[in-house]
């Protein structure tokens, strides 16, 4: 018998395409299995056979009877929710892996340049001003605008004066995060409306309840597009991790590549935050865990983080919505609740492998 360590060591000896094929097959299968299990669970348990019938009937097969309600629950409630969860997990996983590579720091998370804080401010403004009652997509649109505004502000601070550095970007991110957080707190304190307050707290805890195909259409293309761009730049990110001079001497257009990656990672995160609120820890724990197992090659790590993030979020959301039925927990609470201790365990076990700047 091989131990897990031996298997992982053997895996790392394989070429990039072999590593990708094996890893992606396993994770893709996992996404499907977790997704299917999640479809069956809920206030109404729907057996897997009914789900198969619903799927078959939707592509024109003659199938045995199944409940009309069951079909509605699957089509309009559970499936879009799972798809949104998968997209959000994918975005956070990919953006986390990218930011960790760009900052050469395993502690970087997708919100590092202010995206999450900006998204939170946008959402809070939308809720506090009552705009969410006026049109359906007000919340995601405001959150997205806030997220991108914050990212651009942080980037702008880092480039002003001409001498751009990742250290300045990091510090500007810390400052803007704190500043936006203060505004959010201020709004929460002065807000007289208790219902709105509750809505804000719910949003801040991150959740996927009542997500619809509309949300998929809003965030999906942005997330997919950014992910594809990041995959195309993964090889350049490997070289950037060696330092700017190294990358430049190996033919990478450092400035343009870095801006493109920062922008794509922020877009993906902003889109995710817009439809799910702030879901903690996914962008940190998923790429970090995978890096310890697979090594730092971003051509493997980024696509694997996409699927790994999807699995993690679907799983967490399934638990969140079934654990205290008929009430619902928030997925963001759960990802942090499970993710943080797991992460700490990982840190302790792999102290020697945790890389520093």
């Amino acid at each position: 018998m091989f131990t897990a360590v031996q298997v992982m060591r053997g895996y790392r000896q394989l070429g990039v395409s072999a590593r990708l094929t094996i890893g992606m097959s396993i994770l893709a299968a996992l996404v499907l299995v977790v997704g299917l299990i999640s479809l069956t669970l809920g206030p109404v348990d729907i057996p897997a056979s009914h789900i198969a019938w619903i799927a078959l009937s939707s592509i024109g097969f003659d199938v045995p009877e199944f409940g009309r309600t069951e079909q509605l629950v699957i089509d309009q409630i559970r499936l879009p929710r799972i798809v949104v969860g998968a997209a959000v997990g994918m975005a956070l996983g990919v953006a986390g892996a990218t930011m960790q590579g760009l900052f050469r720091n395993p502690m970087a998370d997708p919100g590092i340049i202010g995206v999450s804080a900006g998204g939170a401010l946008g959402a809070v403004v939308a809720i506090a001003s009552g705009l969410t009652g006026l049109f359906f997509l007000a919340l995601p649109v405001f959150a997205f605008v806030g997220a991108m505004g914050a990212a651009l502000l942080v980037y702008g601070i880092a480039v002003v004066g001409g001498h751009f550095s990742m250290a300045t970007l990091l510090l500007a991110g810390v400052a803007v995060n704190a500043f936006l957080g203060a505004i959010v707190s201020a709004i929460i304190i002065v807000l007289p409306d208790n219902a709105a307050l509750r809505e804000i707290l719910f949003w801040l805890a991150g959740g996927l309840d009542s997500r619809s195909w509309e949300h998929v259409r809003t965030a999906g293309p942005l997330i997919l597009g950014s992910t594809v761009l990041l995959l195309l730049l993964a090889r350049d990110l490997n070289l950037l991790m060696l330092g700017d001079d190294e990358a430049r001497s190996m033919g990478v257009r450092v400035g343009a590549t870095r801006v493109a990656m920062l922008l794509a990672a922020s877009l993906a995160t902003g889109a995710a935050v817009a439809v799910s609120g702030t879901i903690a820890f996914v962008g940190l724990v998923v790429p970090h865990t995978l890096r310890l197992m697979l090594g730092p090659d971003n051509r493997v790590l980024i696509p694997m983080s996409a699927l790994g993030g999807a699995v993690f979020v679907i799983l967490a959301d399934t638990v969140a919505r079934t654990i205290i039925q008929p009430a619902e927990f928030r997925v963001g609470i759960l990802t942090a609740f499970v993710g943080a201790p797991f992460f700490i365990l990982l840190l302790i076990k792999n102290k020697r492998q945790v890389y520093s700047l």
């Binding site: 000896q13 070429g15 991790m241 060696l242 330092g243 001079d245 001497s249 033919g251 257009r253």
Partner: protein
């Protein structure tokens, strides 16, 4: 030489590079013929690394031109430059988690298309490079577990795997033990015999004299003198550039020219003096202050 299409591997002309008010390179000319091993020598802060970084497109020089095999460096796409030229950095970056083999394999990136990953040929080239640099024993160890000298050899292996026509080395022997100093320079010498052009910044004057075909002595961002070891290494040039009294002799065993460093000479080395016009004038007002600051920084 009669060939009209002939152009040197590296031809830098009146290259200047300033950081703020400090002039790190001042009208430097550097020429390396194809198949030549050129050594850059000079004291700390002479501009050796800066010159190598300018030639390899890592930093953008403000004045002058560099041509690689006859093509203007700034008009070449970065990818194309990386196909022609490889740089071995002075301080091998401390990377995270990549194994030595994975790092050497990165040398193949400039040769791969955007959607291409390394194939068996690239694997073989990388393994050959590791064999030449005697790094194959730690090919599956991660970079951060290697010693400074081992890491330096891994980065040389990566540059070899890049299969460049021009190899730039920044202090390639600085972290190496004497055995590997000899082995690495012998390896470069052999690659040069096979047609590679090498330009290396080397601190050890004796190694430079022994292995390089031509030496360029830099001080204070300028070329002091250049030519064969015999022409460049004289007690006068060494005293003016380094501020050290020396004796030059023929080493009886290897037959190479050798430098015996005796003692620091009195006073500052004359070659390092910044001339007044060496510092570009920014504004009229603060120029005097910045000028003396720059001069003292360089001293």
């Amino acid at each position: 030489m009669s060939n009209n299409n002939y152009s040197p591997a590296v031809d830098a002309q009146s290259l200047s590079f300033n950081v703020d008010a400090t002039r790190l390179l001042d009208q430097v000319d550097l020429r390396a013929e194809r198949g030549q091993f050129v050594g850059l020598i000079g004291p700390n802060g002479a501009g050796k690394s800066t010159l190598l970084r300018a030639i390899s497109n890592v930093l953008s020089y403000q004045e002058g031109t560099v041509s690689l095999h006859g093509a203007d460096l700034k008009s070449l796409p970065a990818r194309k430059v990386a196909e022609i030229l490889a740089l071995v950095p002075q301080i091998a970056p401390y990377t995270q988690g990549f194994t030595a083999f994975e790092l050497v394999l990165m040398g193949r990136y400039p040769h791969l298309g955007r959607f291409q990953v390394e194939g068996p040929t690239d694997d073989r080239i990388a393994r050959d490079a590791m064999r030449l640099t005697e790094t194959e024993n730690f090919s599956s160890r991660t970079i951060e577990t290697l010693s400074g000298g081992e890491r330096q050899r891994v980065f040389l292996a990566r540059a070899v795997a890049q299969q460049p026509q021009v190899l730039l080395l920044d202090e390639p022997t600085s972290n190496l033990d004497v055995l590997h100093q000899l082995k690495i320079l012998t390896l470069v010498e052999r690659l040069v015999e096979d047609g590679l052009t090498a330009v290396a910044a080397i601190h050890d004057l004796n190694l430079a004299a022994r292995f390089c075909d031509r030496l360029v002595l830099l001080a204070g961002g300028r070329v002091v003198t250049e030519g064969s070891a015999q022409e460049v290494l004289t007690p006068e040039t060494i005293e003016s550039a380094f501020g050290v009294k020396s004796a030059i002799y023929r080493e009886p065993v290897t037959g190479a020219l050798a430098v015996s460093l005796i003692e620091p000479a009195d006073g500052a080395p004359t070659g390092v003096e910044l001339r007044e016009d060496a510092v570009p004038l920014l504004d009229d007002e603060p120029a005097a202050a910045t000028r003396s600051e720059a001069a003292s920084a360089i001293r």
